[in-house]
Amino acid sequence: MPFGHLLIEGLAMGACYGLFGLAVVIIYKTSEVVNFAAGDMAMFSTFVAFHVLAVYGYPFWIAFVMSLVFAGLLGVFVEFFFLRPAKNPTILGLIVITIGAQLLLAGVASWKWGAEQQAFSIPFSYQVTYEIIPGLVISQWALAVFIISAVIMAFLYFFFKHTKMGTAMRATQQNKHAAKIMGIRTNRVFAFAWALSSVIGATAATLMSAKTILDPQFMMEPFLRAFAAAVLGGLMSIPGVLIGGGIMGLIENFFGYAWPAWKPITAFVVIVLVLCIRPSGLFGKHYVKKV
């Protein structure tokens, strides 16, 4: 068994899932809505980068920054035009709105860029490899994934602990009405959460597209896995999500190596088993309802 390879690849893919899971978690943390449009929002932003790169011919970093800006605006747009106008919404109603947004974005993207697969390369190539210790080869792409997820996690940690906005977001999560009374404009907090989530999602999607293929469907499967990773990690804890993603990637790669036919569902089965024992995920605190 090529242990080292499976380990590195599993961790790298898992970090992508975890990173993308963060996008799901940030929105869930503020408004208890699972954003089913997260995958397609990220896909759309990646296509914007692709468009800038392929049609206008700008260098990668400009395209990437533009796609991140676009992702932020897209997040605000979805929140402002689709979620905010809903009066007295139920959580399920909001989820259906995000499903509608997902269909909308998928439709527009494949209308604009066509259904055919595209290649999208980033400066971190999967073909350039380094052998750190004998038998453990790591590609430039995997290295970039590790570094970027570590940076984003550190940033989020700092952000939620030490900035005004981060504190406001935590307050809004705990009690929306109390936060309002304390002078927090919760609407802005929601819009900001959507923008932040969308930007992180776009980063993850850009990394993933370089490993796989860019087409309007390319984030559907990763979204499911990211959502599952977030649930495994406990939905509330940010390091938990990355660890959940890592576990997910490792399970998929090791079980997938041993029983390739069952690769697509092993991770989900493991997650259900974990949830049977720990109903709020590995790192979530079990929330006890008070009467």
């Binding site: 499976l6 690849e9 999967y126 499967e221």
Partner: protein, 397 residues
């Protein structure tokens, strides 16, 4: 009951009526009149399988060319494309709509095994001509109202294995396959061929068409030590597995299905690896850049009628499935009828335009059993390594 309630409650049935009285009932039983012949095709234009949608649009090119020349015996071809999202229940809806509301005369093509199987019985019972389903599944081969063009997946597997063993001299062969009729039929073909040479598949690794992370599958192939890997899967998975393999330093000879003989696309999405690795594929058409008069005519027509379309193999496949029907319609003459076209299609012998050599008789509508082998050249050329090899093995299920 008061007025308000009445008005309100009237709205609901009115709304329902409005919804379902759309385009009226143009029940054309015969599917044609003095001015037009109606022909339909389904294919995924949206959803995960949408890249195959170019097939349905490729057929349009042939009909546009026919219409441009003044139609067939004074009749223009009216062509309907329906999007089924590769979902059998949508295919059924599309086909019924075309049959019962538009009254189509014939269907051409139609991407996919499951969508095709879903409508096969309906079309057969209604005795509607159907030429060239885009699937090599054996379940289509004994339908008297379907004329097959796409080579059987069993033959494909057998011929790819034959080429790998006899011409390339490989003995260690592994398989990476999509787990459906396509992959399983091809696997049967490969096994039958290898058995003939006293060889065995080193390993056969399944892939789901939705998977995007194939590193564990490729690691398994690498661990088996195969020198050649036969791939039976969609372009996306083929590209991902090739890229993954290269990044692992694993460089076997890849042999792929005829569904992946679009070297332009594959080179694009593998960033040139397809050419660098010299991937071999099966094929059943002319090369898209061949200099035969036929292909030159098609390329010119494409620039005229559909300049926005990419000149790819899926598009060409659409052309291939439309050709025999156009030939048969011309052959029949002005006295058009379903029975006459059926007889004309049954009399097709050694017919070849852009596709394979076709021969059908009244009780044999099976596809040709020959394939060509192409190899991607260093600059993405379509090099013919071997022309038309026939598979002589028989599929025993």
């Amino acid at each position: 009951m008061d007025l308000k309630k009445t008005v309100l409650t009237l709205l609901v049935p009115l709304f329902v009526l409005f919804l379902f009285t759309g385009n009226g009932h143009a029940r054309g039983e015969r599917g044609f009149d003095d001015n037009e012949i109606r022909i339909g095709q389904w294919g995924p234009q949206t959803g995960p399988a949408a890249p195959w949608g170019a097939v349905a649009r490729g057929s349009k090119l042939v009909f546009d060319m026919v219409n441009d020349e003044g139609g067939i015996h004074g009749r223009q071809i009216r062509y309907f494309i329906r999007d089924d999202q590769y979902n059998p229940s949508q295919t059924m809806a599309a086909v019924r709509e075309l049959v019962s509301r538009r009254g189509v005369f014939a269907f051409v093509g139609g991407v996919g095994t499951a969508p095709g199987l879903a409508v096969q019985n309906f079309l057969r019972q209604n005795e509607i001509i159907w030429v060239g389903v885009c699937s090599g599944a054996a379940a289509f081969h004994d339908n008297p109202w379907l004329w097959n063009i796409w080579p059987a997946y069993f033959d494909e597997g057998s011929i790819l294995a034959k080429h790998a063993v006899e011409n390339e001299g490989f003995e260690k062969i592994a398989l990476l396959y999509q787990n459906d009729d396509w992959g399983l039929d091809a696997m049967a073909g490969i096994k039958a061929r290898l058995e003939l040479h006293g060889l065995e598949l080193l390993t056969a690794v399944p892939v789901e068409p939705i998977e995007r992370d194939l590193s564990s599958q490729v690691a398994r192939l690498q661990a088996s030590g195969a020198e050649a890997v036969i791939g039976i899967m969609a372009p996306t998975q083929a590209a991902i597995s090739l890229r993954t393999a290269v990044s692992m330093g694993y460089q076997p000879q890849w042999l792929h299905s005829y569904n992946l003989c679009d070297f332009d696309l594959m080179n694009h999405i593998t960033e040139g690896l397809w050419a660098r690795e010299g991937v071999i594929t099966a094929a059943f058409t002319e090369s898209p850049y061949a200099d035969t008069p036929q292909m030159i005519r098609y390329r010119e027509a494409r620039e005229k009628f559909a300049p926005e379309e990419r000149w790819g193999m899926n598009y060409l496949a659409g052309i291939v499935v439309a050709e025999p029907l156009v030939w048969a319609l011309r052959e029949v003459g002005p006295e058009l009828s379903t029975a006459a076209v059926r007889d004309a299609l049954n009399s097709v012998t050694e017919f070849q335009e852009a596709g394979p050599v076709l021969t059908w008789t009244a009780d044999d509508h099976r596809p040709p059993r020959s394939l060509r082998i192409w190899q991607c050249g260093p600059n993405g050329e379509y090099n013919v390594v071997q022309d038309w090899i026939e598979n002589e093995l028989v599929y025993e299920k």
